[in-house]
Assembly symmetry: C2
Amino acid sequence: MTTRAVFFVSDQTGVTAETMGHSLLTQFEGLDIRAATLPFVSSIDKAEEALRKIHAAGEESGLRPIIFGTLVQDEVREVFKRSDVLFLDFFDAFVGPMERELGTRSTHSAGRAHGMADSAAYATRIDATNYALANDDGSNRDYGRADVVLVGVSRSGKTPTCLYLAMQYGVFAANYPLTDEDIESNRLPQALQAHRQKLYGLRIAPGRLQQIRQERRPGSRYASTAQVQFETRAAESLFQRHGIASLDTTECSIEEISARILEATGIERRVRP
Amino acid sequence: MTTRAVFFVSDQTGVTAETMGHSLLTQFEGLDIRAATLPFVSSIDKAEEALRKIHAAGEESGLRPIIFGTLVQDEVREVFKRSDVLFLDFFDAFVGPMERELGTRSTHSAGRAHGMADSAAYATRIDATNYALANDDGSNRDYGRADVVLVGVSRSGKTPTCLYLAMQYGVFAANYPLTDEDIESNRLPQALQAHRQKLYGLRIAPGRLQQIRQERRPGSRYASTAQVQFETRAAESLFQRHGIASLDTTECSIEEISARILEATGIERRVRP
């Protein structure tokens, strides 16, 4: 099979182009691609330099390269539009319909998204990230400031979910790992009692949890079938007994867990991407 | 001014639709919007329910709602395409040209991006996040496994950048904060000497650093003009003396710092979004 050259080209970081392109590419099965990101393509010169790299890759593969673009400036987009690559740029596709709908011209200027233009939102995300780090894993317990406190057994996905909620949405998320003592008593841990309405449980299937723990501490009691089954059952019973809403994370990515928590709890995003 | 209702509609988390929509909306100045995300719209029923919410918001504002969509399934997209909203869906815009170029039909199936289909990539991101947490702030110092070790003074952006590099790109990033002792000696810290080729410096303007530190510890020596100027100058001199590539983070978001580090160092993304 021949490899197709794919490029994500942006006048900024390229993250949106990568995300967009990746979502589309996963819709085509058995596609053999070689992908590269060309960020900060913010002038005609840089666009022409990028196009040289793209052409070289195209010649090497013998197939027409595919470019996913997020290029704000018309004159930079033109460089790719005039070329013979397949150029899929989402400003190109959507700015026109938006201008017609809104009855105004767009600014066509680079450096807005992912910049620091909205510095209040940016500060919120950093604050939320610091909050998640300080209130991770039962440390600190400054739950008065939390939007949500995730509860679950060790390795149910609490820490990465808190970090993602902070960085993506500016949401203040703490997490509390259920200790052996919490689990054996079936009581709501003391530290959580005043914050019951903020609690959200993460569940996980014992088989999957055991797999994760085995990778971390092979052959340990922590990763044993008995321990994993005991903990997952006890956590579920604790959630039920105390009316704590919860989510089965077994088949979910961190992005999905985070979005489902916001959807289920109605917690407002403090910032948008 | 009248508020325009904007919705980000997705059969998955909605993050791509939010990012796409936000990038486009920032191109229009003075726009007054009210935005909401409707994730997991993965069936005709859910699409019709979403459309009812959208219509209600449109009637309230008196303006046609704008929908940014990432809906894979044709029949779900049809619900919005048949309606009277402005529907900007990026599968709708780009799947056709990609099918023609690739000469194959797309699968049109939901649940691929942000799912756990590519579980190796997913595990890499989680591993990288755990690595960043364990090797944050000079702790642990398992730099043999690092792709990059960020060096800088306190509050120059090291920790959030390491977390972002891990979660977004699966890159293993540690960070080392320059201590007073490191700064006074102008020597490369012992712990870093064996990993010089992995070091990358974060610089920051003294005024901005002082502002950040003032918010954290108002009136402290840590936030004083003298201390901040001393540290920023000493860090810059250390980077120069030891030939450590560095970036001025003063005007950069975490996304931009991360993308610029990858661009400057040539470190490969271990995963794509």
